[in-house]
């Protein structure tokens, strides 16, 4: 009897391993040379590299070394943990070498080699990636509090439209104001939707950080599978998120794993969502204060929405169209010196590289913001956290208010009732 059980168990384990490998093959290409061989060493990547502004780091040299057969030396030297994964290099590469993606693969290789335990050097002692890892455990039941939900919002557990909150409640432990992003976003969506919006109590992390930052692909695949089964159980057809990272992960990285993901679910960032509703004539912008002061504000493009999306994605233009329109209600949109695809990185990606060097990048970014406005809007909750964290340290930045896109718009948006538009017509 026991023998049979044992055989069954080993069969099951083998099946699981096969399944995992079939997924892993889709996101992991071990032959780096084949990915890099198009590079002709123009070194533009090293010229634009963001981290090279504050420390020694030359992507083109690293590429050359890998091509010359020193891949093992590069992996052993652990130098690739320093890359910010900001994708500026891809923007400027004439041969479309996706260096950040190669770094991601190399990080997985570094992890397999197990030279140095990296987990201790992740920002906040790696607590947030650890939380994501716990979420795939079968015996852990996630129970999110729902106390942040505005009173007049109708929510449900089943339905079509999901507001994917992301990790905000988990950040709450150190960033007490993170719930206000979720609150404002839900407020906007609720006013625009007739049906109750789905908020999942057992929602889990999308896995972005483990995919890019810590290269724990095993956990990423598990999270993706679990997420999809949760969505399917709740009957979701469209997903709205206010997080740049979740958006990119659902739109592209999940699609690599599951070809039918975008057929099953329509993913929208809150910017796209508001833009569409605005174009359909369902929202207007109104200034609640009657004063005539013009408030200058600026926008920090998160890398996930500017450099990490396919070229046909219009988010960076859409958000600017909304912002330019706001001039009519007393908000004057000004560009920072580096904007759109060229914008500076906040310096901490997936909780990696929070150190004095990336702090210099954040400092530069806030200097640019200070030069043009008093409000700095961003649409990535983590950018907001990291920039706010720097702002706390320097008094000269106390004049800047750093806000999330939804936090900024929630008071300015005015919903036109459906019947009212009919009358107007």
């Amino acid at each position: 009897m026991n023998f049979i059980v044992e055989i069954e168990r080993s069969k099951k384990a083998k099946l699981e391993a096969d399944e995992f490998n079939s997924y892993l093959r889709k996101i992991y290409e071990p032959d780096l040379t084949s990915l890099l061989k198009k590079c002709y060493q123009c070194a533009r990547c090293s010229g634009v590299c963001q981290i090279s502004k504050v420390q020694k780091f030359t992507p083109s040299r690293i590429i050359q070394m890998i091509l010359e057969g020193f891949e093992d030396e590069i992996i052993d030297s652990q130098v690739l943990w320093d890359c910010l994964m900001c994708n500026s290099c891809l923007q400027h590469c004439p041969k479309d070498i996706n260096f950040a993606d190669i770094v991601r693969i190399a990080r997985y290789k570094m992890r397999l080699k197990d030279i140095q335990n990296l987990d201790r050097s992740i920002a906040h002692k790696g607590i947030y990636p650890l939380m994501s890892e716990l979420m795939i455990q079968k015996n852990i039941k996630i129970e999110r509090p729902l106390d942040w939900i505005p009173k007049d919002c109708k929510i449900s557990e089943q339905g079509n439209i999901l507001y994917y909150v992301g990790c905000l409640p988990f950040f709450n432990y150190e960033f007490q104001d993170s719930n206000s992003i979720a609150e404002s976003t839900l407020k906007i969506i609720c006013q625009l939707e007739k049906d109750p919006v789905v908020i999942l109590k057992d929602e889990i992390c999308c896995g972005h950080d483990l995919y890019w930052g810590q290269a724990k692909f095993e956990v990423f695949i598990e999270l993706a599978k679990k997420n999809i089964s949760i969505f399917e159980k709740a009957g979701i057809t469209s997903i709205i998120t206010a997080c740049a990272e979740c958006y990119r992960t659902f739109k592209i990285d999940y699609l690599n794993l599951f070809e039918d993901f975008n057929k099953k679910f329509e993913v929208k960032h809150i910017i796209e969502y508001i833009f569409d509703k605005w174009k359909q004539g369902k929202v207007q912008f109104k200034n609640p204060n009657e004063s005539n002061d013009v408030i200058p504000f600026t926008y920090h493009d998160p890398c996930r929405l500017s450099r990490f999306l396919p070229k046909d994605n219009k988010i960076i233009e859409e958000v600017r169209e909304i912002f330019k329109h706001l001039k009519t209600i007393g908000y004057d949109f000004k560009e920072m010196e580096h904007n759109k695809e060229n914008s500076y990185c906040c310096g901490v990606n997936s909780w990696m590289n929070c150190n004095e060097k990336s702090k210099a990048l954040r400092y530069k970014r806030l200097l640019e913001a200070k030069a043009v406005g008093t409000k700095m809007i961003t649409s990535c909750p983590k950018c907001r956290m990291h920039l706010k964290c720097l702002k706390k340290d320097y008094e000269d930045f106390s004049s800047i208010e750093i806000l999330d896109f939804s936090e900024f718009l929630v008071d300015l948006i005015k919903i036109i009732e459906p019947n009212q538009t009919v009358e107007e017509k």
Binding site: M1, K125, L130, M131, E133, L134, I142, P145, Y173
Partner: protein, 146 residues
């Protein structure tokens, strides 16, 4: 075959012995634990003590990592408020874990974690706390994360 079955039975009847991780600060609680041992107070052998210099040294990520690696319950002990060797370490620990408790609640792990103050002379109290906590974890059952 009979050998196998009896072995299986044994496993079934085996009482659940939780794995408990205990962080003790060097100056009070570790001495307290020591005293409990020296004066032969009985307490369950389920705990593994990790000595740290101060309860303020214990980061919440240690606790999550312990759970991830198969620990069923974590207890952090330090000097009483005001007695910390480094003046304020335990106050930091108190504030930090108060906030962290809410995060643990999201994972339904809040009952498996505890923060206690034990001074060097409270060997008996140390034994009592450990016994009580072990019973609590026994009631909750194994976590089975690995």
């Amino acid at each position: 075959m009979s050998v196998l079955i009896s072995k299986e039975k044994k496993v079934k009847n085996k009482e659940f012995h939780p794995n408990i991780l205990c962080f003790c600060c060097n100056w009070c609680s570790y001495a307290g634990a020591d005293l409990a041992g020296v004066s032969r107070f009985q307490y369950p052998s389920t705990i593994r003590i990790v000595r740290v210099m101060c309860s303020g040294r214990v980061d919440p990520s240690f606790i999550l990592e312990a759970f991830k690696d198969g620990i069923d319950g974590v207890i952090v002990t330090g000097c009483h408020i005001g007695d910390c060797h480094y003046l304020k370490g335990n106050e930091f620990a108190r504030d930090r874990f108060e906030r962290f408790q809410k995060t643990l609640k999201l994972f339904n792990l809040d009952k498996r974690f505890r923060l206690e103050w034990v001074s060097a002379s409270e060997g008996k109290r140390f034994a009592e706390i450990i016994t009580e906590f072990t019973n609590q974890i026994k009631e909750l059952g194994p976590l089975r994360l690995i």
